[in-house]
Subunit: 152 residues, 3 copies
């Protein structure tokens, strides 16, 4: 395997990993947006918008729209971090650039579809299918890592 | 330190990191299994199994078995990801292969025991002890990274 | 770019990444401390402190101090892991050591302030500002990665 291909795979990995991590980080301001518009906060010190002490107390509450974004964020943590870790190891196994690009694009695309499906509560199986595509990509890369670099 | 040893440590790290991340990812289908069998979902759009609108509404609920698996998944995120990050840096400090293998095997073994203890609700201290072994391994590796590669 | 600078940036990254991950791991024993002192556990098998079955049953409950530490831990997961992943890729783009040190120190400092602000419930905007500094550092590094190593 040529050194150039390796470098390119690593550059592609860097690009897609950064994009999908930025997407994950975007869930935090989105949660903040829903917390402010739904007036639903987790901490008493965040309710300075409230005018009276009673109003402030009522603003520490659970809101379904906020919880939905938080579940989406949690699902990102559970799926994107495994992709980044296994993707890094996969990039070091020297795969074909075209295969690597296909896997990285599939994963990142599936996670964008997953986020839109989750936050907009689109009917299933849009969210389920996009989640499965992401899982399948990470499994493919894990298989390659284990068959190429096994040392138990 | 010989280059061969370094490569072997990195191969061993790749193998164990991939195995323990796959174990963590397995918690997602396990959660799904409990959600379906306990008929307890987080989102209204996931309750297509329900026949009537009332049944669907009742299926959006919290179930203790589901929550237990989710707590186990969360504990994995909080422990396995630090292991992977610090383990990668540790592998680059050029440790002895035998020491590295011992630490990696201890960690991965402890997390499998932790998962079984948690999901099957085994009496303590099985879960507590396995959690502590994992923490201790990560601390050992962090100590080595900080004493080998300190640049503040 | 000189190879020495690269190595130093990587050593600096290793040091700060390990410190901030250790800080994140410290949230677990802190949660344990609050669970024991507030007598509020998540699992029935953890309530062996209780003398009678009724007391044990009452100890499986939600406590606001415990939840606060857990929210802080969750926020660490959502911010520190993106920093570590993007920071690793950033360190490989060959930045100036002084710039890299500034970014790493800003991030780690901001996360320590964030934890103190969150756990001690300091009035806003201490927590909000420290969170924003951390996000801004990670965005800066992501920008550098995408402009240096873009391969889509």
């Amino acid at each position: 395997m040529a050194h150039t291909i390796n470098t390119d795979v690593f550059l592609a990995f860097s690009t897609y990993a950064t994009i999908v991590i930025l997407k994950m980080m975007f869930m935090a301001p989105l949660t903040g947006y829903f917390r402010v518009t739904r007036r639903a906060f987790a901490n008493p010190e965040d309710t300075h918008m409230g005018k009276t002490p009673e109003e402030k107390k009522r603003m520490v509450r659970v809101n379904e729209d906020v919880e939905r974004v938080r579940r989406c964020h949690q699902n990102d943590l559970e799926n994107i971090i495994p992709f980044v870790v296994i993707g890094l190891l996969y990039a070091l196994t020297g795969p074909e650039l075209s295969t690597a690009l296909l896997l990285f694009r599939l994963f990142v695309g599936s996670r964008f579809i997953h986020t839109v499906s989750y936050v907009m509560a689109l009917p299933q199986p849009s969210r389920g299918l996009s989640w499965m595509v992401g899982m399948a990509v990470t499994f493919c890369m894990a298989y390659r890592v284990l068959t190429t670099a096994l040392l138990l």
